[in-house]
């Protein structure tokens, strides 16, 4: 009992840091200038994508390399609703999320017929088809893309500070909803099944976890969040274009590195990964292509040394989860 109490503060300290981070996020519009706020907005969007990739790859055994497809669909859907269909800009954001969901449903026919590593490349093919297809639509500027009209941009704030603040609040809200809802999903009976799948897929199936249903649920769960993030990303970039909206580097490669380095299969992992990614990017950006090489090498080393990432390393000294997804066994 003494050793336990000796270690207990670590969990409390960790939670304290998380709380501090959250407080800083809520105070951000008053602390930071617009440029910093924009970086923070971008990081929040990356965090949403990381939480979703972690849910799929870390728990549902859907190791996708095609996440950028659904982000891009969200980008294009937002532009389509707001500019081509003339929908209210604030309404177009949730509609973009629904559009990604609508694309996820037929995609399952391909995704769930492939297993394991084949699935990874299969999702990549799907994303490629979505990107090439988007580049064929003239209404969206075909291969070159098209900018958001000023009137749409103005709907989110008359001046740049006001607009960045609005987009920031929406991104923070999205990140909190994505994490809160996914947390609730993980605490539900589906989530318990998912955690069991993460630990041992066969054993989970034996004790009656409906693997297929759980995997489908996760796939459909992630899609609208990816689309919503896409809409908010478009609001920052102010344009849609096949290569940028469906960027495999930004929405899949970076995300995979974030989750692997932070810790796949844990709730803390994507948060830690996003912070580390931010530091690496800020300090190594001058290195050009070499920062990719560092990220690639670190993630390979991570897979070989500690597959559960930085959080896996920390968890060796920290006695409990900061965000306990698993249920505590009943005390006797």
């Amino acid at each position: 009992m003494t050793s336990l109490t000796g270690k207990l503060p670590l969990v409390a300290i960790g939670r304290g840091l998380l709380g501090l981070l959250l407080a800083m996020l809520f105070a951000a519009p008053w602390i930071f200038d617009p440029a910093e706020l924009q970086i923070l907005t971008e990081l929040l969007c990356l965090l949403v994508l990381a939480v979703m990739w972690n849910l799929l790859a870390g728990y549902a055994d859907i190791v996708t390399i095609g996440q950028h497809g659904f982000v891009g669909i969200g980008c294009y859907a937002f532009y389509g609703f707001v500019v081509l269909a003339g929908v209210d800009p604030y309404l177009a954001i949730p509609l973009a999320g629904l559009t990604s969901l609508a694309f996820a449903i037929p995609s399952m026919v391909v995704v769930f017929r492939l297993r394991a590593a084949y699935l990874a490349v299969g999702t990549w093919v799907l994303a490629e088809v979505m990107m090439l297809g988007a580049g064929k639509i003239n209404a969206f500027g075909a291969g070159l893309g098209v900018s958001l009209p000023v009137s749409v941009v103005r709907a989110f704030g008359g001046n740049i500070v006001e607009r960045f603040t609005t987009i920031y609040w929406m991104s923070l809200a999205l990140a909190l909803v994505a994490m809160g809802a996914t947390y609730a999903l993980m605490r539900s009976s589906t989530g318990i099944g998912l955690t069991a799948m993460r630990d041992d897929e066969e054993a989970a199936g034996t004790v009656g976890v409906n693997l297929f249903r759980a995997r489908v649920a996760c796939f459909l769960w992630a899609a609208p969040f990816l689309g919503l993030a896409g809409a908010l990303i478009t609001l920052q970039k102010l344009r849609v274009a096949p290569a940028a909206s469906f960027s495999i580097i930004d929405w899949t490669v970076y995300i995979i590195f974030i989750v692997i380095i932070g810790g796949v299969g844990s709730f803390e992992g994507p948060i830690i990964g996003t912070l580390v990614f931010f530091l690496i990017r800020e300090y190594l950006q001058g290195w050009g292509v070499w920062h990719f090489i560092v990220l690639g090498a670190v993630s390979i080393a991570m897979v070989l040394i500690e597959p559960r990432g930085i959080w896996g390393l920390l968890r060796r000294i920290v006695p409990g989860d900061l965000i306990p997804v698993s249920h505590k066994p009943p005390r006797r």
């Binding site: 870390g58 590593a117 093919v125 390979i300 070989l304």
Partner: protein
Amino acid sequence: MAGALANQIIQGILLGGLYALFAVGLSLSVGIMRFVNIAHGDLIVLVSFVLLSLTSKLGLPLVLATAIVLPITFGGGYLLQRLLLQRVLGQSVLAIVLVTFGLSVIVQNALQGTYGADTRLIPGGDIVTATIHLGGGINIGVLPLTIFMSAVALVFALDRLLYRTRLGARIRAVSDNVASANLVGLKSAHIYAVAMGIVGVTMGISAAFMAVSTNFDPTSGPSRLLVAFEAVVLGGLGSLWGTLAGGIIVGVAQSIGAQFDAGWQLLAGHLVFLAVFLLRPQGLFPK
């Protein structure tokens, strides 16, 4: 019109030969080691750049440069499997995908850092422009024909190697059941590594042909991987002749797609892949 279509189909079949060359190595690693190497395309592009350096900096003829490089690609494949991939082979799918994915990103960016982002092509001399006129509007390039014949020869040779030699029997034994193979005294790690060395040789051959027949740049790897993957899945996992057939299907689809609009080439290939895959998920020649 019929002549033009026939010509497109023939060009597509020949293009399929190049795709089959990309794909046989992937087909071997899928069939034997049962994993998809995400860095497959990037490693081919890496070899193409090495060949570029040997031919342009040292002035070696491409054939000689390739002959020098093939033993190196064998050794590279062997070491890659032995030192890196073997460590994660028994673990989760996630691990092998992530390691080869990380490798893919490293290779792409190392190439970009070393060679810059320019598009390259190794000049192949007269063979590139030589054509055989068959009449009826059908012309066959000597280079595409050579590539196609090489693909057929390579598939034939690998098939013989796997099913008619002692080494092939060992590779298949390890692939079927690692534990039993170890039990009868086979060194599974070594045999897997030899198999990956053979994959390396196929990469070297396809890299040489790619370098003279299509433009490449440091980021060309993923598109090669996707085409190779489609050929492997269409053919049926683990079937080498099936992979050749799969490559031809993608090649013909792209060639006909390109008729409508240059931009449709890639999309047509992917769409035909998805359509055939949905109709026949197990592939054309499943094992």
